[in-house]
Amino acid sequence: MAHETVTDSQHEHQERDPATPMVKNPIITPGKVAMWLFLATEVMFFTGLIGSYVVMRAGSPPNGFSSIFSPAQPEIAELGDAAVGLHITDAGPNPEKVIALVRPLLDKVANYAPRDLVHLVNEGHAIIPGQRANVADELAGVLRKSGATVEELHQQTFAWPKPYDHTTNPLSIDLTAINTFILICSSVTMVLSLSRIQAGDRLGMQKYLLATVVMGGVFLGVQVFEYRELMMMHVYPIGVSNSGHFVPGASLFASCFFAMTGFHGAHVAGGLVALIVLLIGSLMGKFTADDHAPLELVGLYWHFVDLVWILLFTVVYLI
């Protein structure tokens, strides 16, 4: 092992480009400078995305995020700010009665009816899209009498989807929390992998690198699964999407969700490719205790991607 190390470092020495840097300090090798700069550009890129998210969320009109007051609905276009929607948060002891009351209304907006009713039965809550205020008031009264808990949603009071509120927010926080944990673990194994090679233990480094790759892969897999669920498998109530599926065009919330997690996912994928290249390289005999700059750089990138995810998870899922 020790012998190998020496030859490798000599080789590296010989290969050095004649454009020798004036700065001989190994802490600022061109590679590291460039990697930090690259990360700075990435930080700015995600600042653009996350900053936009914050601005849109804070500054959008209250009716901005979802399809409850969809401008595509002719009544809403006519009623403008006067429309009121109803949010049945709990069907109460007598769901059949509530359903019977709600059905004719939902039938009016035909394509929403079945899935909202299903949702009402399964989960005990539902959204009734924008109505004339007096009609909505009346209905709310009747529903309350039959034991349901009803919230009136004015265009002006309505806010961004809340976590765990499944009538408006389809995201599964539990699944993603696990996924987040996996990604954090992969960062840990990345650190371990680096420390193994610094100790000259290439085999250990390979093991940890493999673990990192696997966990990164799992993370990505789960994300793909989540996308599939959201976009194709499930039919959500009107509060989530007009069309029933949670697709990028469903609402501003959906747009932000897909753009941000999508770009993060792309970064994870890029990182995975780099990790796999490193792994293959190391299997072919690259990297020693003194020569593992690429590992360090990719590790830096991987931690960055991890950090961004923690931010995204907090901002998009949790708050």
Binding site: P61, S243, V247
Partner: protein, 285 residues
């Protein structure tokens, strides 16, 4: 070849000269300002500031160009001439940093008051808006609240590309857009404000002379942007304005049974659809 310095000198002189000429040619210069003697007189304020900045920048321009030309004239290479050897001068640096700094910061603070008067939402007239002006490819839809004083009711008056107001009255307008960005630009009042879909932006101004003035769309809004022209008519008295209002309402009721919805949906230029290359398929996700 010190004569090159003359090129710079002459150019500077011509630049200044063209401004001086322009001021005396009404076909070239700023339009006649009709927001001067009115109570708000924003137009006069803006012209005054323009002239102030013109004077300051003009002086700075003349001085720098004189210095430049002089240096070129005085110090051309010639046999035996050796340039001065100097890496700079701290005192000079400080002087020519401080003086512009004072001028610039003064300019910024000096203008804040006018800016606040013209644009700060807190300064808008307390009266109810006179009209809603909505930009739409490629027309200005003007909507008066009608007799009941409320927008969105059936007695609203809808006019296209015509805004009527009364002389010397500070009018408040709600500016909106239905589709893309437009900009409400009244060059003779020195007023400009973008119309943004999804926002209602208050705009207030007044005019001191009755007449008809052109309303320009100053924000690129598509292929017909150039022809999105409206008119602002200023009436001498309230009575005259009311008269116009009554007759316009009568005309509207004639062509359209009372209670019909706004003509907005039909207001589009027929050419819009003609030139639009797109098929009419509705694209929604």
């Amino acid at each position: 070849m010190r004569y090159w310095s003359l090129l710079f000198l002459v150019t500077a002189a011509l630049c200044v000269g063209s401004f001086v000429y322009a001021m005396f040619d009404p076909n070239w210069w700023l339009l006649h300002n009709v927001s001067v003697r009115s109570p708000l007189h924003f137009g006069a304020e803006i012209d005054r500031l323009t002239m102030l900045v013109l004077a300051i920048t003009g002086a700075v321009f003349v001085l720098t160009m004189l210095a430049l030309s002089w240096a070129l004239w005085k110090y051309p290479a010639s046999p035996g001439r050796v340039a001065q050897y100097s890496h700079g001068n701290h005192k000079l640096e400080i002087v020519w940093t401080l003086i512009p700094a004072v001028i610039l910061v003064f300019l910024a603070f000096y203008q804040m008051g006018s800016w606040a008067d013209i644009k700060f939402r807190s300064r808008r007239p307390k009266s109810a808006p006179l009209a809603q002006v909505t930009g739409r490819q490629f027309n200005w839809l003007v909507r008066y609240p009608g007799v009941d004083g409320k927008f969105g009711t059936t007695d609203d008056l809808h006019v296209i590309n015509n805004l009527h107001i009364v002389k010397d009255q500070a009018v408040l307008i709600d500016l909106k857009s239905q589709d893309v960005l437009h900009s409400f630009f009244l060059p003779q009042i020195r007023l400009k404000q973008d119309a943004v879909p999804g926002m209602t932006i208050p705009v207030w101004f007044d005019v001191d002379t009755p007449g008809t003035y052109e309303l320009v769309c100053a924000e690129l809004c598509g292929w017909g942007h150039y022809k999105m022209r409206g008119l602002l008519t200023v009436h001498e008295t309230q009575a005259e304005f009311n008269e116009w209002m009554t007759s316009a309402l009568a005309e509207q009721n004639q062509t359209q049974p009372a209670g019909a919805t706004a003509p907005d949906a039909q207001a589009s230029d027929p050419a819009t659809t003609a030139t639009d290359p797109a098929s009419s398929t509705v694209e929604r996700s």
